[in-house]
Symmetry: C2
Subunit: 332 residues, 2 copies
């Protein structure tokens, strides 16, 4: 782990890259004594400010601008992403550089776990069915499902997957995690299997939850074979990254009744195009990449960056440092 000692009293030049439609992140004012903030939301501005920036804060997880601006990043010493996923930053030149990447590990865990638990209960209790009947003013009793005792397979046993296991486990669901390697014991999962056992575990699950980072190992992981391995009664939940799923294979599995439903917060293409078949499928739930975004999330992300920046100024090791070869922050 490299430390970054910062000498003297000069202000650190920090480039902040944000999405054009979002505006600059709030809550960075406390930095102004020790840092100069330079904001960009387009390629030309980013190129220009990277010329002098030592630190880059990236608040837009969808952007490719950093890769294109890379030749201009002459003095850069640290990149912080205000997202859990850093897939867009793992282009070869950055991956192979010695510039550390840190992420927002921890901020989204609990909100996302609540979101996933809510979706599981929504399916068990058929809330979407009740809301659809409501539009027709139609009273119709149905039997519902007991959530307790259901089996959840959580693909990705990092900080977010672990929190999902805690909350669903607290409600009496059985939890299995899929990690890069199987583990003999785990404090939060009933069991943790290796990624080579995915196809053996899929047929046992009532709910399959994707909470993995997008890496070479997970890209397109949910394909026809994976959906074929699931039970026809099973529901698929993706709060990870859209490209972990082959969307066409998912749509087909749903159309052919090979799985019973899908709740999707992330998509290969975001926003999901208005003419996409997923919108019209009754057992599909769509939300706009917001599972972790509880009120105050932007402020919480900035506070986490400010804390890490203070560590960096003091020459201390950075928190949440991504393993750039694996594509995520390894377990402590």
């Amino acid at each position: 782990m490299s430390t970054n000692r910062q000498g003297g009293t000069e202000r650190t030049r920090i480039a902040v890259l944000h999405a054009e439609d979002e505006g600059p992140p709030p809550g960075l004012d406390s930095l102004l004594g020790t840092a100069e903030l330079m904001f960009a939301s387009d390629q030309a501005t980013l190129n220009a400010i990277l010329d002098t920036a030592e630190v880059l804060m990236v608040t837009d997880f969808r952007t490719n601008l950093v890769e294109r601006a890379w030749p201009y990043a002459k003095r850069l010493r640290w990149i912080h992403a205000t997202s859990a996923g850093v897939d867009r930053l793992l282009f070869p030149a950055l991956r192979n550089s010695d510039i550390p990447i840190t992420n927002a590990r921890g901020i989204f865990d609990r909100p996302i776990a609540e979101y996933v638990l809510g979706l599981i209960l929504m399916y068990c209790k058929d809330f979407h069915g009740s809301l659809a009947l409501k539009t027709k003013c139609r009273w119709q009793h149905r039997d519902t499902e007991r959530a307790e005792g259901k089996r959840v397979l959580i693909v990705g046993a990092g900080a977010i997957g672990r929190q999902i296991a805690r909350l669903t486990g607290a409600l009496g669901l059985h939890t299995t995690g899929i990690a890069s390697r199987a583990r003999a014991e785990d404090p939060d999962f009933d069991s943790v299997r290796g990624s080579d056992e995915l196809l053996d575990e899929l047929p046992k699950a009532d709910f399959v939850v994707v909470a993995a980072p997008l890496t070479e190992a997970t890209q397109g992981l949910f394909d026809t074979a994976a959906f074929n391995a699931m039970q026809p009664s099973a529901r698929f939940i993706n709060i990870g990254r859209g490209a972990i799923v082959k969307t066409d294979a998912l749509v087909k599995a749903l159309q052919e009744g090979r799985i019973a439903g899908a709740a999707l917060d992330v998509f290969e293409q975001e926003p999901l195009p208005a003419d996409h078949p997923l919108w019209a499928m009754p057992e599909v739930f769509v939300s706009a990449h917001m599972a972790g975004d509880v009120v105050g999330w932007r402020e919480a992300l900035s506070a986490q960056f400010v804390e890490n920046f203070e560590r960096w100024r003091r020459g201390e090791p950075l928190a949440n440092q991504v393993d750039k070869q694996r594509g995520y922050v390894p377990q402590a």
Copy 2:
């Protein structure tokens, strides 16, 4: 507590009253060695079979037929209701008789608690908003709410209310119960207040959940004053009985933005009429009195009755005996 010793080997005549559109309850075949089952779903048949029945099993919680058949119930010694609420059976003649009433306490607790937790998460995460946007193929990011730390006021601290407190408490929500009397300590609720403190507690709650039986004390309890006491951001959830709520006062409170939403599984009039204003309100969730009805619920209800019937045959005290003056099964 009265015991009901049953002498000799003669078969007990059991009258079973069920709703016409539901058919007789499943899972009673095991009784046929010791009992003769007589089924009714209309007044004339009920009157006729009550003439000889010693036991009455009531599977239709909405019916007034028992009250009207009362003069014919000459040999009746025990009534079992396959519902948590027994309000329809507490007419004066039965209330003042020495015939015990038992209920389905325990069967619905956990399913209803899951249902309520799901509704709380639905509101926090705006699932109903996402489903409404989905009908328009519209991608729209919103900030959501953190469920952890929210305050739930559970009106009714019996078996169902207690289970709601357990599940919501396990998720990190703060739980206050309203019981007939305040309690110094409670294993499941953060605190339990007396019913005289309801109006003091309502302003503190993010979610108000009605899990009380319908009694003289709770009839119309949620009126204009109660809704006025709630926060404009609060949501109201009723899985108890419809008549605990003055529906017109609820509709007005919603229309005027004095509360933020309502999820209703029970109504003053069931089915909810197709032209009722509640159907069209976007922040209202409607379901068809089904919160506790997980797959296999009818069989579970019958199994519970069969077990109690065996107790009765052996002359043992009945389980789940309702205090007919208070209108519910008192805490053990």
